[in-house]
Symmetry: C2
Subunit: 348 residues, 2 copies
């Protein structure tokens, strides 16, 4: 299995995007975003996406040169149009705008529509947290790509609707980046490809019965993922609806429903400057105290320690910065093919 350092992977991916017609600053931005997902261990949002993105450029779904624009704004709010360009570019600009507005107004919200895949949502809230602000993002699939049943239902009506949150501490930020479904669809796909059953509580088949067969999700008619919570799935369902309304309705991108066919990401980004509410030192004392309290908790049976939200990602990143990023053979093969087609040299 090839192991490549992030320092070599970023320019390789950048060069492919540039060769496919992306202006260099954007190509760097997207390459950095993908590689950072690999660094923190979210390989599903990493360079595995390059072939898919290249397909998007070829088909016109991704306009590699599009400029995100601000449709309208006030001191604390803005709505942005991604014009179906690079999602990582539009989401980054929307995040920076939210930070600038919160710098002025204390609290700011930016809604973004017509964006392609933005990658790992946690990246954007982490950026907000670097500015002594709390970051909060709700995201849906632009009203399309429904995979999740509402609590008590048997058909797909919602996407996996993630929510991300980051809060600054004196050390690393607390980072929460979770779907409101039990799992993301990709985890079912992995088990299906391995010929293994899915755990209880993940899936129902098309007739609305619980199943452990990952193929049920891809059958015709298809089954559905369940909302987070198991027997208490009304809670995950409620969260999913919250996320769908904030991202889909406030942005104008669209709530999840059959009328919306174009898959993308619609999002609502919030930045909250902590010293708009309490003195900065007081905020940090309180949050650092929470971190100490959580980390001091002795483990339950079957665990060895309590981790903070975001700590697993941080550990993977430290290791992969040291040792390099393992890329599976199939992904590496696909990347090499793309590079060859564009006359880009792969790292040796």
């Amino acid at each position: 299995m090839p192991i490549i350092s992030a320092d070599r992977l970023v320019p390789f991916v950048r060069d492919m995007f540039v060769a496919a017609g992306t202006p260099a600053p954007r190509a760097i931005r997207v390459a950095q975003s993908l590689v950072r997902s690999n660094l923190v261990g979210h390989d599903s949002h990493g360079v595995i996406r390059v072939p898919q993105y290249m397909g998007g450029i070829r088909s016109g779904r991704i306009d590699a040169a599009a400029e995100p624009t601000v449709e309208h704004e006030s001191p604390g709010t803005a709505t942005m149009d991604g014009h179906w360009g690079w999602g990582q570019v539009a989401a980054w600009e929307a995040t920076q705008l939210a930070v600038r507005k919160a710098q002025q107004s204390g609290l700011a919200g930016v809604a973004l529509h017509s964006s392609n895949h933005v990658g790992r949502v946690g990246e954007y809230v982490e950026e907000i947290a670097r500015n002594d602000m709390i970051g909060l993002i709700a995201l849906n699939n632009h009203g399309a790509a429904m995979q999740v049943a509402p609590f008590g239902g048997r058909e797909r009506r919602l996407s996996s609707n993630p929510i991300a949150f980051a809060a600054p501490t004196s050390g690393q930020p607390i980072l929460v980046d979770i779907t409101s479904s039990v799992v993301a669809e990709g985890k079912v796909r992995v088990l299906r490809n391995q010929g293994r059953p899915v755990p209880d509580g993940w899936l129902i088949d098309a007739s609305g019965r619980p199943t452990n067969d990952p193929n049920a999700l891809y059958a015709d008619p298809p089954g559905a993922l369940l909302p987070l919570g198991g027997p208490l799935g009304h809670k995950g369902y409620g969260l999913s609806v919250l996320i769908d309304v904030m991202s889909g309705a406030l942005s104008g991108g669209g709530c999840s429903r059959a009328e919306h066919e174009r898959i993308g990401n619609a999002m609502f980004i919030e930045a909250i400057r902590v010293d708009a509410f309490v003195p900065r030192a007081q905020y940090y004392a309180e949050v650092d105290g929470l971190v100490t309290s959580l980390k001091s908790c002795p483990p339950a049976v079957g665990f060895t320690e309590v981790l903070l939200p975001g700590e697993p990602e941080r550990r993977t990143e430290a290791r992969r910065r040291e040792e390099g990023i393992e890329i599976d053979e199939e992904t590496w093969h696909q990347l090499s093919d793309v590079a060859r087609g564009l006359s880009v040299d792969a790292p040796a």
Copy 2:
């Protein structure tokens, strides 16, 4: 079991609070809040609380005449001090302030500390939704009353940390009002009092082992409630930390940790005026479309229909407005005792 109409219950409760030294407008506000919790079926946050509140007034924990104040503010933000008066009064004033600020700024956040129990959180986000705004509230127990273990831990480190959300639709608002723990502590207490086991996945005992014995939560040393999500409890844990930071750190009330002993509610309230982001008609078309899509979903096995978040409460309210509110004998007995002590007449 006594059945009392809301119209008779409100003045009865009001008269008791007035007799105990609460200015009449506040007494009405608290009485209406409690009875409204009963109306929507959240009896644990209803008039059952009257004896506890009376104890709070007697001991000085509730200052029945305290005035909530705004500590500092900007056009879109404010921090409020409840001065340990009535929580329902402080939270209502904070909610109204958030709405007024969002009317001007599009997006507003109000943090509240030093508040006693605010009652049912859903009430405040519903009020925000009546103003063509989305309401979002995070709440903790002012850093105290820890009952929930972090994911992978065996000791209590967080409170049940609810989040509430309401979004206006052309019909009734969507209402999400959930704890980030599997259940609230009261549900374990009910099963313990009935001598029944708790379902799998709710509790661990003090040694960190899963248990079905509700007494484990009240043992010495005590067990702990688990975060929402079961095997995916890192998600409920992440939500709980998010809620704890937003409510406890931004308000200055305090994040959950052993240093905080005084139990109350700290909260962060957000109001988002929908037409600060999209034209109002577009927002409503999208959210109404989502409602139609969710309600059209055929039921899964074991269910008869898909309900919207908030719909169960709405149905209970319609029934109880029609038929009256059933008050259990023990609660009615306690209310009658309180009334007698204050020379207040109970409804016949």
